[in-house]
């Protein structure tokens, strides 16, 4: 919703990708991963290191942060100092600590939301591609309707109705995003579902679940991963935009999206405070997508 939607793009890309999967040599999984990693370009390494750092920060937030995220430790808007490394926010909470705790909250929300949207959207997409017929028709038309209502308006109405709790935010963004995941999955899975090896496994009498997860899913993974990379980051933007329209996550918990919004007016006077949470989001977006690019490049079979 915040930034441009990005599904169909990868859909077509995927169709192309699926046909050009390289034949992998049989090595153990660890061995293969290590070999791949060693050959990874600098950008991918950079991405991996940043992501690992973020995850560590999120896990060990209470150990790293000097204060808790809700503790009032100073006056409102204290400047940067030894006591409060990055100053305090409007209620006198330590900015640096909130930034660290926000890693936990924000990434938690983003992971949950994307997991939800990929589970729902992916599953329905695979089902539609394999079963076709009326299942496909019904789900596709429902998704069409959902996609043609502007996402922001959808969120606005649903959130005013259900209230802006974190759980509702995750559920609503997750479900709305799943429509885009569905379109993508269905598009690429349809191309794979008609291939001979899928037919063969069906004739062999394999169950629906097996065909979906063992035969088709591995072959459509690259576009889904590419989508995951962007979707994951768009969650922050969605949270931020909703916060701008007055429907974001409420204090006391901190998240980068709302922190950008809360401090955004400072930028009009050249005060760099809002650049911190915005930078945190940007760095993660760049890191995740560097890794995704590398993965796509590897699976595209281009040998340069």
């Amino acid at each position: 919703m915040t930034n441009a939607p990005n599904t169909l793009d990868v859909a077509e890309e995927a169709a192309a990708l699926a046909e050009h999967q390289p034949v992998l040599m049989r090595r153990t999984r660890v061995e293969r991963s290590w070999r791949a990693l060693r050959k990874a370009p600098v950008t991918a390494w950079f991405g991996i290191i940043v992501i690992v750092l973020y995850v560590l920060t999120a896990f060990f937030a209470p150990l790293i942060a000097p204060y808790s995220e809700t503790e009032l430790v100073g006056g409102p808007f204290d400047p940067w100092s030894d006591h409060n490394l990055l100053g305090t926010d409007q209620l006198g909470r330590d900015m640096f600590s909130r930034l660290i705790y926000a890693a936990r909250n924000t990434m938690g929300i983003a992971v949950l939301t994307t997991a939800l949207s990929f589970t729902v959207g992916g599953l329905l997409g695979l089902l539609a591609a394999v079963l076709r017929g009326w299942v496909d028709q019904i789900v596709s038309r429902i998704v069409d309707v959902m996609m043609s209502i502007p996402q922001l308006i959808f969120c606005l109405v649903l959130l005013s109705f259900l209230g802006t709790s974190v759980l509702n935010l995750v559920l609503i963004i997750g479900i709305l995003d799943s429509t885009r995941v569905f379109r993508l999955t269905r598009a690429v899975a349809t191309n794979v579902a008609v291939l001979d090896f899928v037919e063969a496994s069906k004739l062999q009498g394999e169950g629906l679940l097996w065909v979906m997860t063992r035969e088709i899913l591995p072959n459509i993974l690259p576009p889904l991963v590419a989508e995951f990379g962007l979707r994951f980051c768009f969650v922050f933007l969605t949270v931020s935009s909703l916060s701008f329209l007055g429907l974001g996550i409420q204090p006391p918990s901190a998240d980068w999206g709302s922190m950008v919004k809360d401090n955004a007016t400072l930028i009009s006077f050249g005060d760099p405070t809002p650049l911190l949470p915005a930078g945190a989001i940007a760095l993660l977006t760049v890191a995740v997508n560097f890794v995704v690019d590398w993965f796509l490049h590897k699976s595209s079979g281009l040998k340069e």
Partner: protein, 327 residues
């Protein structure tokens, strides 16, 4: 039948059904919200008898199904109905939804057009260059810049642009708020819209550029490209003459989606620059539960979505001889 015409007719049919379902879904959604236009407008001042009088006046005392059917009947005649809000002066007691939407839609289309005019050629050029010089310094740099620009929320991008381009501390080149005088010339309009248009360009270029690059690179492993390269064509020629024509389908798809987004999803940018677009109209209507206006806007949005998707499919078919001339 020509596959192009068949697709168009089929999709238009589905489009109409989608529009109808959208209107039903929105009626239901708005119906479950607490309160209604009367209580929203009166706020704290809502005493039971004032609310009742208000509801009587705007017809909210009738059952929801009846209201919806009435609206649908009007719609079938091409009448968008009237807003619940009183107007005065020009159009009597109620404002016609069409009168509310028309000027806003013009503003929105103008802004979207301006942004697209800059963004689309820019994204295509950047994307093709990135594919040409892939994995080089240029590619990495463009990637970094565009990824950073899409990871900043739009309002933030807008504030930063306003700081640098509409503030006498730096450069006061463009107006900080986009007020459009009625009857302003096209150049005045473009000048007023400069900052919101630039913001939107920054937001959508990344996406289209990445898509262009990805779809072109994806084709580079195909045997026919290999062939072209082996016969000694220059890399530039390979990309523009061999890869690009086959990449039009995914590229036009992502362009269509971004154009739809420019029309449907820019309420945040409108707010940042106080630009009277249709997004604000719909958000105001949702906040005040002005159902006829919500319905009118939603129909336009859904229509835009359906039409742009259709155009993308047409381009996909038209640029693919296999689809255009099926055996």
């Amino acid at each position: 039948m020509n596959p192009l015409i068949r697709t168009i007719l089929q999709r238009l049919g589905f489009g109409l059904i989608t529009l109808f379902v959208v209107s039903v879904v929105l009626s239901l959604l708005v119906g479950v919200l607490p309160g209604d236009f009367a209580t929203r407008t009166l706020g704290q001042a809502a005493t039971p008898d004032t609310v009742a009088a208000f509801r009587r006046e705007i017809g909210l005392d009738r059952p929801p199904v009846e209201r919806y059917l009435h609206w649908l009947a009007d719609m079938a005649r091409g009448d968008f109905g009237s807003s619940y809000s009183g107007a005065g002066s020009l159009s009597g007691n109620r404002r016609a939804v069409a009168d509310l939407i028309a000027p806003r839609l013009v503003n929105t289309l103008f802004l979207a057009g301006l942004a697209a005019l800059i963004a689309v050629p820019l994204a295509l050029t950047l994307g093709l260059l990135a594919a040409l010089y892939r994995n080089g310094i240029y590619d990495r740099l463009v990637n970094l810049v565009t990824l950073t620009s899409i990871s900043a929320p739009e309002f933030f991008v807008g504030y930063i642009l306003a700081l640098f381009l509409a503030n006498d501390v730096y450069f006061q080149i463009f107006p900080a708020i986009s007020t459009v005088e009625p009857g302003a010339s096209i150049f005045d309009r473009a000048y007023a819209c400069a900052l919101p248009a630039l913001t939107l360009v920054l937001v959508i270029v990344a996406h289209m550029m990445r898509m262009t690059r990805a779809s072109v690179i994806n084709l580079l492993a195909s045997p026919y490209i290999e062939m072209a390269r082996l016969k000694g064509s220059a890399p530039r020629r390979v990309i523009v003459h061999h890869a690009l024509p086959n990449a039009w389908a995914p590229i036009s798809n992502v362009i269509a989606l971004n154009l739809a987004y420019l029309i449907v999803g820019v309420v945040v940018v409108e707010k940042v620059f106080a630009y009277p677009g249709i997004g604000q109209l719909m958000v105001d209507a949702v906040r005040n539960q002005d159902v006829p206006v919500i319905q009118g806007c939603a129909l336009i949005f859904a229509g835009v979505y359906v039409l742009l998707n259709l155009s993308a499919d047409i381009i996909a078919i038209a640029t693919n001889p296999r689809l255009l001339h099926p055996r």
